[in-house]
């Protein structure tokens, strides 16, 4: 043990390693620890009437948040949104990975065709779909209006919410495909060949052998999809609906953005940052569990 440790850490210099660590520690301290601590501190204070000093108010910011029906709606909406996006993107992405792995020739071509949306920014995805579906401009949008469907997400909250869910999931299919396909490729061929010799069909092999074997990857993907839906969807929502109409597409991150940067309510937005911190920390701990279980 000690011999191995000595081999792994062969250099005994005392100062040099800290010099090497210094840049990363500096960036982490200045742009991560300080802001996080500052948010935590602020979340127990409010600005006075002149905005010059902070007044300690204990948990009041949190109590106000908990009592605010708009915020409570945003909590529920965020979880519904994240579950829908994660479920849809994961289901489609894994299904496509199974199809390419089990039923397609020219796997590399399909891989390219299903991978590229990873490189698309959520905000740009919003712009592209807006152009297609805009009620007075888009190819499909104008057709929907002419067909008397009442299509206009700018005034219909349900349409807006479903639209944002659909585009967020559409963009995330590629991510799930990439990971599921890589996990399927890594499975030993012999297992599948053995099942084929026993007369199992492709669907049976997928369901009883491949999916259970890539379960750790699937679990990891659920967590990553939830984090994506919570946080990366901001650009899409900002491009498409700005949280509207009438808050119908306002998620927790969007709410924190509005309170912090539009309304400049610092204590309140700091409390929201802390709430988000707890959400992410919980999701990340889940992810570590998934990592621990991965073969």
């Amino acid at each position: 043990m000690s011999r191995e440790a000595a081999a792994r850490e062969p250099f005994g210099e005392a100062v040099l390693p800290w010099l090497l660590l210094a840049p990363q520690l500096a960036v982490t301290g200045i742009f991560f620890l300080w802001p996080a601590a500052w948010a935590f501190w602020q979340s127990f204070h409010i600005s006075d009437a002149f905005g010059t000093s902070l007044i300690f108010v204990g948990l009041e910011n949190y109590v106000l948040l908990a009592e605010d029906p708009l915020y409570r709606d945003a909590v529920v909406r965020s979880f519904v949104f994240a579950s829908l996006v994660a479920g849809f993107a994961l289901g489609v992405g894994v299904g496509l990975a199974l199809l390419v792995e089990n039923g397609a020739r020219r796997k590399r071509v399909w891989q390219a065709l299903l991978t590229w949306p990873y490189a698309l920014a959520p905000a740009t995805a919003g712009v592209l779909w807006l152009f297609l579906l805009h009620p007075s401009v888009g190819l499909i949008g104008t057709a929907l209006v002419r067909a008397d469907t009442g299509w206009d997400w700018r005034i219909n909250g349900t349409q807006a919410f479903l639209l944002v869910v659909g585009i967020a999931a559409w963009k995330q299919v590629a991510y799930n495909f990439i990971f599921a396909f890589a996990a399927l490729l890594a499975l030993p061929r012999s297992l599948i060949e053995a099942a084929e010799m026993d007369g199992a069909g492709k669907a049976r092999i997928a369901w009883s052998i491949q999916l259970p074997l890539i379960a750790p990857t699937l679990f990891f993907l659920i967590v990553v999809n939830l984090v994506y839906a919570f946080f990366d969807s901001f650009g899409l929502i900002h491009a498409l609906t700005r949280g509207g109409p009438a808050n119908a597409t306002e998620t927790l991150v969007y709410r924190a953005f509005v309170d912090g940067h539009v309304n400049h309510d610092l204590g309140r937005s700091a409390a929201q940052s802390v709430v988000l911190l707890v959400v992410v920390a919980a999701l990340t701990l889940l992810q570590f569990r998934a990592m621990g279980r991965r073969p």
């Binding site: 500052w38 152009f131 888009g138 992410v280």
Partner: protein
Amino acid sequence: MKRSLAFLTLSVAAFLLLAPVLVALLGATQPSEVIARGSMAWLPGGETARNLGEALTQGAGTAPVWRLLLNSAVMAAGIAAGKIVLSLLSAFALVYFRVRGRGIAFALIFLTLLLPVEVRIVPTYDVVVKMGLSDSMGGLILPLLASATGTLLLRQFMRDLPRELVDAARIDGAGPLAFFWHILLPLSRTSVAALGVVLFVYGWNQYLWPLLIVTRAELDTVIVAVVKMIGTGEAMSDWGAIMAAAILALLPPVIVVLALQRLFVRGLISAEK
């Protein structure tokens, strides 16, 4: 499942992923007045050169797109290069040195995994403004360097290297920096390239942070600026030029991912898992 059915399903899926881009391309070929009337044609028009030229040299209520693309490229390259340098140095220190307090250093770096930029955006904004870094490339790049994924990836890579390497180097009388420069760095090339691809795409596609920290139009990134061009989505917008700009905005990361597909998939999977 029959091969033909799999082929059909995959074709439909691939088309549905591509369709919005095709329609944007179609829009970029047509006169903006026609699009604004809601009578866009299903076939390409003859306005491509005008739309592309207008976008590149004038923008649409924004800085010209060539400038926006340059901003995005500098930001993405800066984030990729910065994170790679920080991660190489810190991973080297964590793996190859016996030092007191290493556990604390690792925990501090590791903590950043817990918080995506979006969570700490409001407090980070205050800090960056106080430092006088708003409206600067440094303000755009530096806060996004506070992340542990690169360090973790390279730390794992270095741990997996055979111990004989460093033993041999020491027998030859190489100190830590010589070992780092002449042996470790050349060996890390593929891992670093894979990480670089992922970080470039990550940097290029940033949205919330550039939206907040930049107030001067000529420092906008192209992803943020394309959304600004649309504004409230009114029909009067110069749609042809906007769609040309949107295509220009999405092409660089897509090309990088497709051209370096193998490297990219490898980098993504080892960086995120």
